[in-house]
């Protein structure tokens, strides 16, 4: 239920007063409402839940989270 999948915004348009987007999840494209990510732009990654983007993914923070674990891998070698 709180399943949120990361996807890449490919296209953005306005429809019926709502901000919509085409989002790519691997090889699949879905239409997603982007009303809750008003500053997101094509190329950004978003977390999608129940047909809406709930936030953009902060690339720097993602890298930092991976790096923290990556450093451990290096230390343990």
């Amino acid at each position: 239920m709180c399943l949120g999948i990361p996807g890449e915004i490919v296209e953005i348009w306005e429809e019926g007063g709502l901000r919509n987007g085409k989002v790519r999840f691997g090889g699949i494209f879905r239409e997603v409402c982007l009303s809750y990510v008003p500053e997101a732009k094509p190329g950004d990654y978003v977390i999608v839940h129940a047909g809406f983007a709930i936030n953009t993914i902060d690339e720097e923070e993602a890298k930092a989270t991976l790096a923290a674990a990556g450093d451990l891998v290096d230390e343990m070698r």
Partner: protein
């Protein structure tokens, strides 16, 4: 960067598990709130790789599991009405009500449609003007903003045949309820990452301070889960009780302002009954007065619904983390995903379903 595979990377997960093993020095009992986190712990086999000092208890963060049986019975009653099209998320369809479930109502001829987004239900209303379309709005703070948008759009565009059976829930009051129940042994929490992405985590700081309990906002992939546990156990070992954020790539302290504004516009906070936990004050979202005309509980009258639970079902104890599913006398025998007695065996995030699906033999040692 796809933001999925990298967080499932074997070497990183193993290295993080090692730091977890090295930091733990005594037993700790911690709870992951979200059913999605429970599911992923079991699916990845991580639960079997944790240091034996760490007891992971599973929380009530499965909205399908905790939606009250009274509301499910109301949804069923609505679906039976010939003029109604009842729209719901798919995983609600096989959740047992007192006598039936939505899927059996559909089999009898009731119109029940599965939707992925509440906006789909709105489209169905627009496409079927003579019918009354009811959206069964379940889910936590993650999902409530989507329902709110559908309600707002219905009102704005004058879609008069759309209404909402409101069942949304808030997580922090449930954590308070768990911590205040006598005999609660939970020493720390992994907070739900996507709920916090929407709501922020200020409310969790109040809880951490009041109960002197550390809380770590955690994601869902294997690396997130182990890293979140490591951060939580580190705090427990040093005697801290802060809120920390492991899921920094998506969740922030303030949350999503646009989504929160929509929640404040469309919903008020109200008391709500949680299946298995009972009535929790200020734990639900109901429609605010300006949107009351879209409230299915006001649009329709409900008569003669006497709600009841299956006797052997110990879902409440499972959802509170006091029992593990294999300890239930009906687990795997009378209660299976094909014929469930309670919600946690049906839901894709339910603890009982997760145990049943991902190697029930592995958990034989928890049988009394």
């Amino acid at each position: 960067m796809k933001y999925l595979d990298e967080f499932r990377d074997g070497p990183r997960v193993r290295a993080q598990l090692q730091t977890l093993r090295e930091c733990v020095s005594r037993p700790w009992r911690v709870m992951e709130i979200c059913g999605g986190q429970t599911h992923n712990f079991l699916k990845s086999g991580l639960d079997g790789l944790l240091p034996k000092e760490i007891v992971l208890v599973h929380g009530p963060g499965c909205p399908v599991c905790v939606t009250s049986v009274e509301l499910i019975d109301k949804a069923i009653a609505l679906a039976r009405r010939p003029e109604v099209i009842l729209c719901s998320f798919g995983d609600m369809l096989r959740v047992p009500g007192s006598q039936a479930d939505l899927l059996s109502v559909r089999a009898e001829g009731g119109e029940v449609r599965i939707v992925y987004s509440p906006l789909d239900a709105l489209k169905i209303a627009e496409a079927n003007p003579p019918r009354k379309v009811v959206f069964f709005g379940i889910g936590f703070e993650t999902t409530a903003p989507m329902t709110a948008m559908a309600v707002l759009q219905a009102k704005k565009r004058g879609i008069g045949n759309f209404c909402l059976l409101a069942a949304h829930l808030l997580v922090p009051p449930a954590i308070e309820a768990l911590l205040s129940s006598p005999g609660c042994q939970i020493q720390g929490f992994l907070a739900p990452g996507h709920v916090c992405t929407v709501s922020g985590y200020e409310a969790y700081e109040v809880i951490a301070e009041k109960w002197r309990t550390p809380i770590v906002v955690t994601g869902f992939e294997p690396l997130d889960l182990v890293q979140g546990l490591y951060m939580l156990v580190s705090q427990l070992e040093e005697g801290s009780h802060r809120v920390e954020n492991q899921y920094r790539r998506a969740a922030t302290r303030a949350g999503n302002p646009a989504a929160k504004a929509m929640l404040a516009e469309v919903f008020s906070v109200c008391d709500r009954k949680w299946r298995g936990l009972g009535l929790i004050p200020s734990s639900g979202y109901c429609l605010s007065p300006e949107y009351a005309d879209l409230d299915a509980e006001k649009v329709f009258s409900f008569e003669g619904i006497a709600s009841a639970e299956a006797e052997e079902c110990i879902a409440g104890l499972v959802l509170q983390g006091q029992k593990k599913p294999p300890e239930c006398s009906a687990f795997g025998s009378k209660c299976t995903p094909e014929h469930p007695l309670g919600a946690p065996m049906v839901s894709s995030e339910g603890a009982c379903a997760a145990y049943h699906r991902f190697s029930p033999q592995r958990h034989q040692d928890t049988k009394p």
